[in-house]
Amino acid sequence: MNMPQLKLSIFGAYNRNLQKMKKLGYLFLSILFITATSLAQEVEKKERKPGHRNLSKFRQLKQELPTPNKQHTASGAPGYEYTQQQVDYVMNISIDEDTNKLYGDQVITYHNRSKDNLEYLWVQLDQNMRARDSKTPEVKASSFNSIFNDPITFTENYLKESFDGGFNIEYVKDAQGKDLSHMVNRTMMRVDLPVPLVSGATFVFKMKWWYNIPPYIEVNGRSGYEPFPDGNNNYTIAQFFPRLAVYNNVEGWQNMQFWGRSEWALEFGNYDVKLTVPADHIVDATGELQNEKEVLTKEQRKRWELARKSFKDPVFIVTQEEAEKAEKERSTKTKTWHFNAKNVRDFGFASSRKYIWDAMAVNINGKSVLAVSLYPKEGNPLWEEHSTRVVANTLEEYSKMTFDYPYSKAVSVHAAKQGMEYPMISFNYGRPQPDGSYSDRVKNGMIGVITHEVGHNFFPMIVNSDERQWSWMDEGINSFVEILAELDYDPNFDTGNLPKDIVAYMSIDQDQLSPIMTQGDNVFNFGPNAYTKPAAGLYMLRNTIMGPELFDHAFRTYSKRWMFKHPTPADFFRTMEDASAMDLDWFWRGWFYSTDYNDVGVKSVKSYYTTDKPTEKAIAELKRYNLPLENYKDYLIFFAEGEPSANEILKKTTDIQVLKNYMSRLSESEKEELKETPNYFYEVTYEKPGGLVLPLIVDITYEDGETERKSYPAQIWNKNDAEVKKVYATAKKITNILVDPDLETADIDMTNNSWPKKKQDSQFDTFKKELKN
């Protein structure tokens, strides 16, 4: 016997259908009188609103994303007409330790792989940001914050000339040695080609230059030298040579000026570099060392052989004892270290006689890669304990999330106040106290920075996005993978990049916020904007919105598609959807294109219980529609609002005669299919004061302490952006409702998240108690 079961929630249908049902032998109605009443009483007196366009937060990003084409396709992959230039460099570089000058000459081979003819080339002169005529200090606002100075500060502020750090270019010549016409526009140099460089052709030219190596702590830079009290310098050198700007399918020439913040867009190519430094220096760099026999001792080479086979612990190539001996002397001779690197987008190196050097092998999917560290004794004991191991862990974890690390090594160099990345080499901070002790803050900072900078090998050194344009594409995506790598190294690691960590930033004054999709130089609060927010967003996307399985496949697809290429934001957004069958436009729109924040809460909870006694509301309602109660009372289960009164004990729903009668007529197999009969009914209104749409995650706790997790997709907000109601019919009483229990969705205000409202133990009281003890 199949009974019609009608659920009416709109009163309009109620009357008409009730007549029909009366004729049926049995009926089972569930009526929400509250809804019905409020609908019926609504008086339309509002003025007619004007029309509007599609304002849905779930509308597609058609206007925001560039039109796909044959170079950057609609699926987010490189198209069949995608092109990319190649630039090869042969360089001779030398460092003069006495004057702290760097001299260089280079032969640049430019391969025009585009379909276009080029009339000129643009070369990046990054050190010109430090030139005396640099506009970088000019555009910084300054205010008079101090009404008196000590003489040191006064001298610094008002008497000293700024550091003279620009490139001094001696020549720009063609392959035959003929001067080339060129024009320097601050950090960009145009090299005029004698004849246009046609598609597929190659142009060779030469440059010679020198510049003053910046004392980077004093002048705040990404590269330079740190002087030590013992008279030695630690050179961590990058952006030291004129580098070709990118010519691509999206920007043409990416020749936006370098203002000091937004980093680089660079082409891949092959490097052949000879580094001439004091003979007692230890050097490491991008690429593979070509002349081991000339620069390393027999003992050091023997140790390298051991390191290449040591997968468990680092092997010292130069021990602390040897480094301490070396730093006491000063050779006047020089040595030339020769490095070759294939298919890299940049070159960096480090040089000092203070270095301890250790290395170990890492197994990347059957291929052996070297994890290497260089650090002065000042970095110990922290560095010998962690640096190389963190490098190894980073290569392993990033490879799992992207592709097998394709280079032969990754080097972490100790540098006082740097955290900066180059292909195969990075400069990282983390220095213990002079007595060797260090706090957890210093240790975790060092683990964090090494993971981050080594991780940059993947983004942007290999997945080579345009840093000048979009800082988040390398910093944010890298900070996201960094979370996973750090948690693998230490499950209790405070990554600082989780959704909960971006709450403080997302709650600040809207005037101080920029959408992530803002060019880096124009961003307020650069750190949280370009690093934490995208990282937290991607973590949320992986763990809360998509799930690791779907996310990881899509993320790996993006990484592999754009490995050794130049992706744009649209390529990332599109690939993540293309490879997962998830429409994520709403997420990109909210998290990346707006400064909206998430705030969801429990607005109200109405509870009901079932009764066979008609409630006053039910009586009134039936009366209003002229339906005699006596005709219906044996057919209806009534919902009473609130809790049963003291003298009226809650009757189990199964004890209600109407339902009992109905149930008794069901077949055994029909009975088996039924769920547990609920006794408690709740209508929960979730409100959303925040502008973002995100999944709604709720923990419902019952009287017996059991907790049930409800996860609603973000689409729960697609019909009503302000609030949404949910009905829960439960066998047990609900004692507690908590929204976003695991702090997954960066809810900026937790005070409205729980029902009933919770009184939290104040941190202040806890502290006072601790003081007393």
Partner: protein
């Protein structure tokens, strides 16, 4: 209310590095009036490194906060710095408060401050210039909860104080 601010050229240039330091210049101060004890409980959450570099500059010392070599009397300097930069006025007059101490948690430090014997709060005014002389971008968020009347505001170099009136409700 100026103190010796030896801020240097160096600190004026906001870091140009590609850091993992996700730097933003923000503090959060929760101020609760507790009726039972008639006291005002203040918890200030600020970044350790920002506080340290500020203290180092002002006092020409190396504080090494949250390390084994932290200056033993660091709390005295923190208290002095608080007294200079953080002011609470209740019912129109500046209140003397007690700095109880601090607690480190990862990269932030919580400073605990208490004002006792407040029978009634008609108005409360907060001035918070903490770290602003070293970091012009510094924003100090204040969250007040006085007898369940809540207000929060953001103090910046341009506007370093705000007032909450409670009497005329």
């Amino acid at each position: 209310m100026h103190t010796i601010k030896k801020y240097t050229f160096l600190l004026l240039i906001i870091p140009l590095l590609s850091f993992t330091l996700h730097k933003y210049y923000l503090s959060l101060t929760k101020i609760d009036y507790v009726n039972e004890s008639k006291s005002l409980q203040i918890t200030m959450r600020i970044f350790i490194d920002d506080l340290e570099s500020t203290l180092n500059k002002i006092n020409n010392k190396s504080f090494e906060l949250d390390t084994k070599t932290e200056l033993e009397d660091s709390n005295i300097y923190i208290e002095n710095y608080l007294f200079e930069q953080f002011k609470v006025s209740i019912n129109g007059s500046i209140s003397k408060y007690k700095y109880l101490g601090k607690k480190y948690e990862n990269d932030v430090v919580y400073l605990f401050i208490e004002i006792k014997n407040i029978s009634e709060i008609k108005s409360i005014e907060i001035k918070n210039r903490m770290l602003m002389e070293t970091f012009p971008e510094q924003q100090n968020i204040i969250k007040l909860n006085i007898n369940n009347k809540k207000k929060s505001f953001i103090l910046t170099t341009k506007n370093d104080n705000d007032l909450l009136k409670l009497q005329d409700r």
